[in-house]
């Protein structure tokens, strides 16, 4: 029981097929509570599909996914999940405040005004709270998207390529926030193909063709591949014919 409590995400033999394509092909994975787990893989490897399964948006064909001891839909319904989609996915015709107020109502956030202010301060968007989203730059929209995912203080944060298309300064700021959240016990499942980002995760799962090819910390994966850095390790492991999980 104690062991189960320590696991935030448990995926066992997860399969998902779209038409003739096997998006997930027997994926096994465990994310510990409070850790930042990076899903690393090339485009089309199944990262987003897996995150969508975890978010309860896609029904798996086979296998099981357990989040915080319950099913994905139960976790979502209880407001325990925060999901930051790849695109900002905000209401462009509403203001920053109005967007957050809407998501706060859906998540039954108590003391909405205070929580919105705190969240906006966290993502450094307080001075733009009255701006209409359509007038914001891409970077500011990404901040707001993160704010919408954080607002209800989820236990598990699903981040689908959260820093794609944003500049290195903002990326660094984001990772500072993520690290703070992790220190407060929030579990994060982050998909990425940016090596700089991957190296900041506590553990990584290298995904290819809908399976976890290798798993471990960044130094473990580098050592296993006999490479100098994570990018070389990624390329080496990705091109290997078969590999078992480590770590």
């Amino acid at each position: 029981m104690k062991f189960q409590d320590a696991i935030a995400v448990r995926a066992r033999g997860v399969r998902k097929r779209f038409g003739t394509v096997d998006a997930l092909n027997g994926l096994d994975l465990e994310v510990r509570r409070g850790e930042i787990y990076g899903l690393l893989g090339p485009n089309g490897s199944g990262k987003t599909t897996f995150i969508r399964c975890v978010a309860g948006l896609v029904r798996v064909d086979a296998g099981t996914i357990t989040l915080l001891g319950v099913s994905p839909r139960q976790a979502v319904a209880a407001g325990r999940i925060g999901y930051m989609t790849q695109a900002a996915a905000l209401y462009a015709d509403l203001s920053v405040d109005e967007n957050l107020a809407f998501f706060a109502r859906l998540q039954d956030v108590p003391d909405t005004a205070t929580r919105i202010e705190e969240t906006l301060r966290t993502v450094e968007l307080l001075d733009r709270r009255r701006s209409i989203v359509s007038t914001l730059s891409g970077g500011l929209r990404t901040r707001l998207s993160l704010a919408a995912a954080l607002l209800h203080r989820p236990e598990l944060l699903l981040l689908d390529e959260p820093t794609v298309g944003i500049d290195p300064v903002l990326r660094r700021e984001f990772w500072t926030h993520f690290r703070e959240l992790a220190s407060r016990g929030v579990t994060m499942l982050v998909s990425s193909h940016v090596m700089d980002e991957a190296s900041r995760c506590d553990r990584l799962g290298l995904i290819r063709a809908g399976r976890v090819l290798a798993e471990g910390t960044a130094p473990e994966l580098i050592a296993r591949a006999g490479a100098r850095d994570l990018e070389s390790a990624f390329l080496a492991l990705d091109s290997a014919p078969a590999a078992g999980a480590i770590g």
Binding site: R52, C53, A55, G56, L57, V58, R59, V60, I65, S71, P72, R73, V76, A77, A78, G79, I81, Y83, T85, Q86, A87, A88, A89, L90, Y91, A92, F103, L106, Q107, D108, A148, L158
Partner: protein, 383 residues
């Protein structure tokens, strides 16, 4: 101008169409479908034979002639003739089972028509006159004994008895609903109100919900505790506020600016329209599920609306449609909205009227079924 660049642009458009099968199909097939529909509706519309009640108790003809004439009227081809009392005839006119009540008085042929539909009204007077000529001719051919009571014989005796020319009788047409000072707009206003309200709110809700899908916010919403039903009902509520506002504006403009005649209660007109537009919002949400972008959503407009233009009684009364098109007409929401609004605005029907209640019930049922479809169309596959 550089022809190569122009050709490049044109080629780009052609390539796009080649991969957008739906647009291509709509471009080529939709006009054929619409033309087929037009052909079916206008090319084969049956010349509906009116049901005419011959009111013997009101006619001032000598009894034997009245009997023979009314008997002959039931055998003519121009109308479906029935013999009944005047009161029975008027009751049949109100419940829609008769189109006209006819009787002779003085030297005139009196015809009371239902009158709520100008297209139908226009043909009834002519049909009755034709029937009269047919009946009198039949009597003439039948021999002289029919007029023995008057001492006259055969064909002429009827004219004598009627005191008029049977070939060009003095026909007095009265209307149960509407009046001579009604313009075409007065008769068309109920169906136009319904159509425009339906059209605009359907389009708006379809495109808006599609934007929710394409922008990714729907996916984000589905990763919150919000349920699909809550989302659809919330959408219905949000759009309905504006749909109802639109209904108020359309009705007020029609009644107070266009000065359209109406006999029913304004509130009843509003309720019918309100129920209809809520169904239109649901349909918009459902249709948005089948479209991948706003262009495709707009393509659904003719598919959803054109059958309703031709088959809901907007252009041609449903009763005059060929039999095989009526089942389609029966599943279109505008058919019921048109019927109810005509009943209220032209006939002065109240909300408690059976016909209005039935139409409202069908519209509510339509809205509920389509809303359920919209909920199901949000493909949140529960893990």
């Amino acid at each position: 101008m550089n022809p190569r660049r122009i050709v490049a642009v044109a080629r780009r458009i052609a390539l796009g169409f080649r991969r957008d099968h739906r647009s291509l199909a709509l471009l080529l097939v939709a006009p054929l479908v619409v033309l087929t529909l037009v052909g079916l509706v206008w090319g084969t519309t049956a010349e509906t034979i009116p049901n005419v009640v011959f009111a013997t108790d009101r006619s001032n003809l000598p009894a034997p002639i009245a009997t023979r004439l009314s008997d002959a009227m039931t055998r003519v081809t121009a109308v479906h003739g029935h013999v009944a009392t005047f009161d029975e005839g008027m009751a049949a006119l109100r419940d829609g089972s008769a189109d006209a009540v006819v009787w002779f008085q003085g030297s005139a042929l009196h015809v009371t028509i239902e009158g709520s539909d100008p297209l139908r009204s226009g043909s009834i007077g002519g049909a009755v006159q034709k029937a009269l000529v047919e009946a009198v001719s039949a009597l003439g051919a039948g021999g002289g004994d029919s007029c023995s009571a008057t001492g006259a014989g055969g064909f002429q005796c009827v004219g004598v008895a009627l005191g008029m020319s049977v070939t060009a009788p003095n026909i007095q047409i009265e209307r149960l609903y509407g009046s001579d000072d009604y313009t075409l707009l007065d008769y068309l206003a109920p169906v136009l109100i319904a159509f425009f309200a339906f059209f605009f709110i359907f389009l708006l809700s379809a495109v808006s919900f599609l934007r929710e899908r394409t922008s990714g916010t729907l996916e984000r919403l589905m990763a919150t505790p919000l349920r699909r039903g809550e989302l659809v009902v919330g959408y219905l509520a949000g759009f309905s506020i504006f749909a109802l506002l639109q209904a108020v504006v359309i009705i007020a403009f029609t009644v107070f600016v266009l000065k359209v005649h109406y006999t029913g209660n304004l509130a009843t007109i509003f309720i019918v329209e309100a129920v209809m537009v809520i169904g239109a919002v649901s349909l918009g949400l459902l249709v948005s599920a089948a479209a991948r972008n706003e262009l495709q959503a707009v393509q659904f407009v003719p598919i959803v609306l054109l059958p309703q233009v031709f088959l809901s009684g907007l252009l041609i009364p449903v009763q005059q449609l060929p039999d095989y098109l009526r089942p389609i007409s029966a599943v279109l929401p505008l058919t019921y909205a048109n019927e109810a609004l005509k009943a209220v605005m032209i006939k002065g029907a109240a909300i408690s009227d059976t016909l209005v209640l039935r139409d409202l019930g069908v519209l509510v049922l339509f809205g509920a079924i389509v809303a359920a479809g919209a909920i199901a169309s949000i493909r949140r596959e529960v893990a």
